[in-house]
């Protein structure tokens, strides 16, 4: 629980941090970064909120069991895309979307960034990003909650 100045600044900068992290995740196949890095950025924005507003305020909004479900969904999505490669492409982790007319199936013709390329890479980036956001935030949330309970007693 911080002062009003810290709360206000955290509330203002949180949307920008989240948008930037989501941008890094969504453009993982075009620009430096990817699921891990963008997920860490979004999770650090959430941790900023946790530090500024206190654990009790944030534990009312979101439980760590929900974060666990989200993290498992991310992991399942990642492995699921890999198994789809096994089914459609013949090998585990085959990039079966690249070169087709499906979403993200384009092949870049120059170095210019085109979001509709990359095959399975954007899907895997989304899955890993969801996993990293939920995982890192769950770690910090559980630790902070344990510490706040210890101090409260």
């Amino acid at each position: 629980m911080m002062s009003k100045i810290v709360k206000t600044i955290a509330g203002i900068s949180f949307p920008f941090i989240t948008i930037y992290g989501l941008y890094v995740i969504a453009h993982g196949h075009l620009t430096p970064g990817g699921g891990f890095q963008g997920g860490a950025i979004v999770a650090s924005g959430l941790i900023l909120l946790l530090v500024a507003y206190g654990t009790d305020w944030i534990i009312e909004k979101i439980k760590e069991s929900h974060l666990s479900i989200l993290e498992s969904l991310g992991a399942l999505g990642f492995i699921g895309v890999a198994f789809l490669g096994l089914i459609f492409g013949g090998m585990f982790f085959t990039n079966f979307i690249a070169g087709t007319s499906m979403l993200f199936g384009g092949i870049p013709t120059s170095t210019a960034a085109n979001i509709n390329t990359g095959g399975t890479l954007p899907l895997m980036n989304f899955a890993v990003g969801l996993k990293v956001i939920a995982g890192l935030f769950a770690i910090v949330l559980v630790m902070a909650y344990a510490i706040s309970k210890e101090e409260g007693e």
Binding site: G34, N114, I139
Partner: protein
């Protein structure tokens, strides 16, 4: 005491010799010995994986198993932390 110093000096000399020769035998910077894999990835990444970012193509496509292990490490870390800091009901 002198014996230990002798052993220490001897082992340090041997390690230094191997270290110096190893440092001298390293290929120059930017000129790898086995460049075929690098050149293949640079040439074929755009057409095979459809991504402009070669690093992401390597991490998620060519070496997907590495990323799978990485994700498993993160999953194990989160599971361990939640297990250690779980809320225990007091009787």
């Amino acid at each position: 005491m002198e014996g230990r110093m002798l052993v220490a000096a001897g082992s340090l000399t041997i390690v230094s010799i191997f270290l110096i020769f190893g440092a001298l035998l390293i290929h120059p910077f930017g000129v790898p010995n086995a460049y075929k894999m690098d050149q293949y990835i640079i040439d074929h990444t755009q057409n095979e994986s459809g991504a402009n970012n070669g690093v992401t193509a390597v991490v998620f496509d060519y070496r997907g198993f590495d990323t799978l292990g990485e994700a498993t490490v993160l999953f194990t870390a989160v599971a361990g932390v939640i297990l250690v800091f779980r809320r225990v009901k007091k009787e």
